[in-house]
């Protein structure tokens, strides 16, 4: 305003101030557009999979969500098989990974001598750096034969003979199957869950722990009765974070699931998952088949989005308390 009201030619410094202000606005706008791109990516991923799968999602909603008959030749697409496989493998992974991760976090934050902590923590985190296709290859060529020769025969001989849960461990020791995929997923998500747990355990105030030790608590009592209640929401957040990873993982499970759309009670039988169905069939699919696979992708996106949202909200609760 001042610059324009000056009678003679504006001074040099005023011109510079104007230019700076204009550049600042431009700079801010560019930055904001880039940040909005993150928002757009998530919205776009949801919208484009919804759009790509509209034929099946809106045309055959009921059939898609409630039947398990997946037959591209007869143009039947019931998604219950992949949904079942995704949920069951992820639940197995969580059941195995949570206690193991808790043990690792406990070991690294309370038990291990300080010189051992960094190397062991780095090694565990390297598990997260290994590409998922490597897990898939190791799973197929090494872990599947191992399960078939050593683990599954014993499981069906012991647990498989029990009255009710026996049905879960019944069947031929193929190696391939839901249980094997669940274990591979568990190994993959252990580093994520354990590093969250370890981080939040470190936020527990030392005086709280020392008070408990001073009253004569054992290490385990301090961890179970003091640290875990203090960090409960973040620990649950970490578990959901792992669950989100497990639900969406593709390459590690595609090789070891066995690719069968039948829903079977036994965990030793082959199955399929949403992501592995997409990976296996997408490039050969046309028309309704392709639309059904994109619709599966939409389903997966919505479920993982909700799980990850819960995870982040739980994790955020602790950091907010820390700020107070």
């Amino acid at each position: 305003m001042n610059a324009t009201s000056l009678p003679a030619e504006p001074r040099d410094s005023d011109q510079r101030a104007l230019r700076d202000a204009r550049n600042d606005r431009l700079f801010r706008l560019i930055l904001k557009c880039c940040a909005l791109l993150v928002l757009l990516t998530l919205l776009g991923a949801a919208a484009s999979t919804l759009w790509g799968g509209r034929e099946v999602l809106f045309g055959h909603t009921w059939e898609f969500l409630t039947t398990s008959d997946w037959n591209p030749v007869e143009n039947k697409y019931g998604a219950l098989g992949p949904i079942f496989g995704t949920l069951v493998t992820s639940i197995i992974a969580i059941v195995i990974a949570v206690p193991v991760s808790f043990g690792i976090a406990l070991f690294l934050s309370e038990i291990a001598p300080s010189w051992l902590r960094t190397p062991v923590a780095t090694a565990i985190e390297l598990l997260a750096a290994i590409p998922s296709i490597i897990y898939g290859m190791w799973g197929l060529f090494v872990f599947v034969p191992f399960m078939a020769d050593h683990v599954e025969p014993k499981l069906s001989d012991t647990l498989g003979q029990l009255p009710i849960i026996g049905a879960l461990f019944d069947g031929p020791p193929l190696g391939l199957g839901i249980l094997t995929a669940g274990i591979v997923l568990a190994v993959m998500i252990i580093p994520f869950i354990s590093s969250v747990m370890r981080e939040v355990f470190q936020t527990v105030p030392t005086r709280l722990k020392e008070s408990a030790y001073a009253l004569g608590s054992t290490k385990w009592e301090v961890v179970w009765d003091i640290m875990l209640p203090y960090t409960r929401s973040a620990v649950i957040g970490g578990i959901f974070l792992g669950l989100g990873r497990a639900l969406g993982e593709t390459m590690a499970v595609t090789f070891v699931l066995g690719n069968s759309y039948d829903i079977q009670a036994s965990l030793l039988m082959p199955g399929t998952s949403i992501s592995s169905s997409i990976a296996n069939e997408f490039n050969e699919a046309v028309g309704t088949h392709r639309s059904a696979l994109i619709a599966l992708g939409f389903l997966l996106f919505v479920v993982t989005f909700i799980v990850l949202m819960i995870a982040r909200l739980m994790l955020r609760r602790l950091s907010r308390r820390e700020g107070n």
């Binding site: 940040a35 484009s48 390297l126 593709t250």
Partner: protein, 288 residues
């Protein structure tokens, strides 16, 4: 000693032992996977791997897949590094406490662990399908689409690291620069980004380590190619997809090549993540 003490000490002993065993289980799996990859990879590695393109049985190499991976990873980083750094700068410098800022930060954290296969589908719908219909079918799957999919994997990593690194820069540095009359964009580019340069570089390296091993988003964007390709609109082979195809083949000779490729990727990714740790370690020393 009273029974209650004995029971408490016994519980403690059992719990601590189990936790040690849990750590051993984690380390065992790491050692097992690495050992298998190294031993099988090294026994299959050889000069033909780098000179021959993918072909059937023992005639094959990985030359086109290695070149394809390098090109697409590079292009992906060129796409996501500038966007990610700028977006992270916005979050740290302009939207640290705003509602929009915390919403983007929240969604970025979700994108960080979103299933990569869905991002592949997303790029298929918004890039591959339009390009197919625009070109009348002569261009469909392309290296460009693959790079965009990979860039979406790397983007949230860079956004988050940049945001965190810029927030670490002390406020006095900003005040000192602003009091000299420097415009904010100059402050950001010439002072703040320089101060947190190694941190931002770490973020880019982390993103590269993350996207280099991705297979799922490439399957229906770059597709794969059994010949050498350099153009951004060609279908392009990549190491992870080549490994996937070779592993799916029943022929053991193909599996050997797949292990060699697996070794290359694993070494690359692990070297990158160890390198970033070094960066971080140095940075911490600087700040103390």
């Amino acid at each position: 000693m009273a029974a209650i003490y004995r029971r408490r000490y016994a519980t403690n002993f059992i719990a601590l032992t189990l936790s040690g065993i849990a750590t051993l289980i984690g380390l065992t799996f790491l050692a097992w996977i690495l050992w298998i990859t190294l031993s099988r990879g090294f026994s299959a590695i050889g000069v033909p791997l780098f000179t021959k393109i993918t072909a059937y049985a023992d005639q094959g190499g990985l030359a086109n897949a290695i070149v394809g991976s390098l090109l697409m990873d590079l292009l992906a980083i060129l796409i996501c590094a500038p966007v990610g750094v700028l977006a992270g700068t916005y979050l740290a410098e302009y939207a640290r406490k705003t509602r929009l800022g915390s919403m983007i930060r929240f969604l970025n954290d979700i994108l960080l662990s979103a299933p990569s296969i869905v991002l592949g589908l997303f790029v298929y719908v918004i890039v591959v399908l339009p390009m197919t219909s625009l070109s009348g079918g002569s261009v469909s799957f392309s290296a460009l689409a693959g790079s965009i999919a990979l860039a979406l994997i790397g983007l949230p990593v860079i956004v988050r690291t940049t945001d965190e690194m810029l927030q670490l820069v002390p406020g006095t540095l900003r005040e000192a620069a602003l009091s000299l009359g420097i415009p904010q964009w100059k402050l950001t580019v010439q002072v703040l980004m320089r101060a947190s340069g190694s941190g931002i570089a770490t973020g880019v390296l982390l993103a590269l380590a993350r996207l280099a091993g991705e297979t799922a988003p490439l399957l229906f964007t770059a597709f794969g190619n059994n010949y050498m390709a350099y153009g951004p609109l060609d279908k392009m082979a990549s190491l992870p997809v080549a490994i996937y195809q070779y592993t799916n083949d029943p022929n053991p000779a193909m599996h050997a090549i797949a292990w060699a490729g697996a070794l290359l990727i694993t070494l690359f990714v692990l070297a990158l993540s160890l390198l970033t740790r070094l960066f971080f370690a140095r940075k911490k020393v600087n700040h103390d």
